[in-house]
């Protein structure tokens, strides 16, 4: 197999891994948008808080699981971080967004920006602006691909990357199960179709909205831990860039559309890897924005979304 093909495959793997992270975060955006028709600017910062939650809880959790990096330890950190982020998401919704239900859209948008900036800057104060080292909860190393696979053996997949694939896939299935096969999921779908009708049918709007926020935030928290395993340097501003790209991913796939968010995430991840590897890393961020502008011009409802008619 020619060297270029190997290089391409490697970039593809890199892109898929990064894309899965985007997908997890994009799901949070899409869930909240589906139910509340608003973009939670602060979502990227929940991702950051998940990473920091991991930073602080990891030592104790790892000790509980026998000390040192291990599978159960990592799983524990992941689950705990998801819970913490879910709680944070619900708290933010209750404190900052609920009082604004029914207010003009712009008001909520500005509040969301305020929350995001607050989390980032308070984070800089509390955690310090310098990057911190994320503890090793699982040993990330490159997997040995057997020589019998021929040229493919020069590819590198890391344990971290495999974990990302696995956990993302598993979480996606779980999400699908919740949304399609549980009553709360049904309530979420009902709310996203028609909030008034849903509440008339007995859906407790507040609880469902809280649940949605919690769910989306938990996914962001998972993304935070998975990222920190591969890139063990965390800082309070780590959510800004990733949050923005995940948002673009959600829009690309069709905001409000769950499979769309996953698809969008993967696409953006792969696109980024290819642009950086083959064209010019300086355009890494610009290309993502360009995609956003293009999709909004050509098909605003996204790849998998259905055009929404605005009723007057």
């Amino acid at each position: 197999m020619p060297d270029q093909l190997i290089e391409f495959l490697q970039q593809l793997i890199n892109g898929l891994a990064q894309g899965s992270i985007y997908a997890l975060i994009a799901l949070g955006y899409t869930l909240v948008f589906g139910v509340l028709r608003f973009i939670n600017f602060a979502h990227g910062d929940v991702f950051m808080l998940g990473a920091f939650a991991g930073l602080y809880t990891a030592p104790k959790l790892l000790a509980l699981c026998g000390g040192g990096p291990s599978f159960p330890g990592a799983a524990a950190v992941l689950v705990v971080a998801m819970f913490i982020c879910a709680a944070l998401g619900i708290l933010i919704e209750k404190l900052c967004y609920r009082p604004l239900r029914g207010r003009p859209h712009l008001t909520v948008l500005i509040t969301a920006i305020g929350v995001s900036l607050f989390l980032e800057n308070a984070g800089q104060y509390v955690f310090g602006a310098d990057p911190q080292s994320f503890p090793e909860i699982i040993t990330d190393r490159a997997l040995e691909i057997p020589e019998t696979w021929g040229a493919l053996s020069s590819l590198t997949i890391t344990v971290g990357q495999l974990l990302v694939f696995g956990v993302t896939f598993f979480l996606l299935l779980g999400l699908r199960a919740i949304v399609l096969h549980t009553r709360t999921g049904m309530a979420m779908r009902a709310l996203s179709f028609n909030p008034v009708a849903a509440s008339l049918m007995g859906v407790n709007t507040d609880v469902v909205i809280s649940f949605t926020f919690g769910l989306g935030s938990a996914l962001a928290g998972a993304a935070g831990i998975l990222t920190s395993i591969q890139q063990p340097s965390i800082d309070p501003l780590m959510g800004v860039n990733i949050g923005l790209k995940a948002f673009v991913a959600a829009v690309l796939g069709g905001i409000g559309n769950i499979p769309g968010a996953a698809l969008g995430g993967i696409l953006i991840g792969v696109l980024e890897a290819l642009v950086v590897g083959y064209i010019n890393p300086t355009y890494r961020d610009a290309i993502v924005f360009a995609v956003l502008i293009l999709i909004l011009l050509i098909k605003p409802s996204g790849l998998l979304g259905k055009p929404e008619r605005e009723k007057v």
Binding site: D3, E7, Q10, Q11, N14, G15, Q18, Q124, G128, A129, D130, P131, Q132, S133, E136, D140, R141, A142, T156, T158, T227, Q230, Q231, P232, S233, D235, L237, M238, N241, E272, A273, L274, V276, G277, N280, P281, T282, R284, D285
Partner: protein
């Protein structure tokens, strides 16, 4: 109510300052104490503070104590100009110390020059800084020198094919990379891959994949510690085993904490080695540790040296008159600093050796000194 309180404080402050002016010599410092560059700013500030405290403990200068007035530019462009104006016109400082980041020094230097107040930057390595005018000095070497130092080192190791990975968002990184490439290729070396990244990036696998494919003998990464640590980790994961090379931007608290042992066997140039066994260095490290509870890095050492050079100049000229002070600073020769023997050349840059360190055993080890 708050507005009134703020205005009172804001307007009353100058009066307060004036009352203290008599038996003290005000020295201004502007640094990034908060924000993205806080790590460097805080280090340099601590070094400067230690120096001033020491000088005052030994009786001060010209019979008066030095008063260090520090302002935080919060790592934001636009702020250095404002706060340097404040230091000069409000606090009436006799000289200004700062900044670490060249872009901030470039912003403040014209103001110091126009107001004829000497400015000494501890660590800005962009050649343009001192070109602003004859009141602007620096106590560190400049990028052209640092780039060639590493190129020479690479050649001395017999490496002929090197890949370069620069941070396009940082002029420092781009500058260092350019000078390295120029010197390396002029002497027969080959740059097999020239990749780029941006400050704040976390994932470098695409660039590293490309570099790996080019099979270099070493990789030159003249960036800052936050990204370098991640780059090193990911490079090792991807199977890049060759040594990594870098510059003084590598020096930072979290470098080894994040990189673990993925930087072992790598080399970088900087201004100062904390495990230099000379009595002067050992003394400095001990004092710094006693005061701040941490080992000083080269920003701290440079901050220390810049303050001392200023104090020496004031002592030598016996006055704080700006013109005479400027001339005295320019005449600094063989000042025995923590970061080496410092002589200010005619371009007001420090002519002094660079130190090359290697990484291993959880710390840095001294390799060699490279003279200009």
């Amino acid at each position: 109510m708050i507005r009134q309180l703020l205005l009172t404080v804001f307007l009353g402050w100058p009066a307060f300052e004036l009352l203290q002016a008599q038996d003290e010599i005000p020295v201004g410092e502007y640094a990034s104490l908060t924000g993205g560059s806080a790590s460097f700013g805080q280090s340099a500030h601590k070094g400067t503070e230690l120096a001033i405290a020491e000088i005052n403990a030994n009786g001060g200068v010209l019979g008066k104590k030095l008063k260090l007035i520090t302002e935080d530019d919060q790592s934001q462009a636009g702020q250095p100009a404002t706060i340097v104006r404040k230091l000069i016109s409000q606090d009436k400082v006799v000289a200004v110390l700062g900044e670490v980041a060249s872009s901030k020094s470039l912003e403040a230097a014209p103001i110091c020059q126009q107001n004829k107040i000497p400015m000494i930057t501890p660590a800005s390595t962009n050649p343009k800084v001192t070109e602003v005018g004859d009141y602007i000095f620096r106590v560190c070497f400049i990028d052209p020198f640092q780039g060639t130092v590493m190129a020479k080192f690479a050649r001395s190791k017999g490496w002929k094919k090197i890949a370069v990975l620069t941070d396009v968002k940082q002029d420092y990184s781009v500058g260092l990379g350019e000078f390295f490439v120029k010197d390396f290729t002029a002497n027969g070396g080959e740059i097999v891959r020239d990749q780029k990244y941006s400050t704040g990036d976390k994932d470098f696998k695409p660039q590293l994949t490309s570099i790996k494919a080019a099979k270099p003998e070493a990789v030159f990464i003249p960036g800052y510690y936050a990204e370098v640590a991640l780059i090193a980790k990911q490079a090792r994961l991807l199977g890049i085993k060759v040594p990594l090379l870098g510059g003084d931007g590598w020096v930072g608290d979290s470098l080894l904490k994040v990189a673990g042992n993925s930087l072992d066997g790598s080399f970088f140039s900087c201004h100062f080695s904390a495990d230099d066994q000379s009595p002067k260095t050992r003394d400095f490290v001990a004092k710094f540790k006693a005061k701040y509870g941490e080992i000083p890095d080269d920003m701290a050492a440079l901050g220390y040296d810049s303050a001392l050079i200023l104090a020496e100049a004031i002592k030598r000229t016996g006055t704080t008159d700006p013109e005479k002070l400027r001339d005295a600073i320019a005449a600094t020769k063989d000042h025995d600093g923590i970061t080496g023997k410092i002589t200010l050349d005619s371009a007001r840059n420090a002519s002094k050796p660079a130190v090359i360190l290697t990484v291993g055993n959880g710390g840095f080890q001294f390799v060699e000194t490279v003279a200009p």
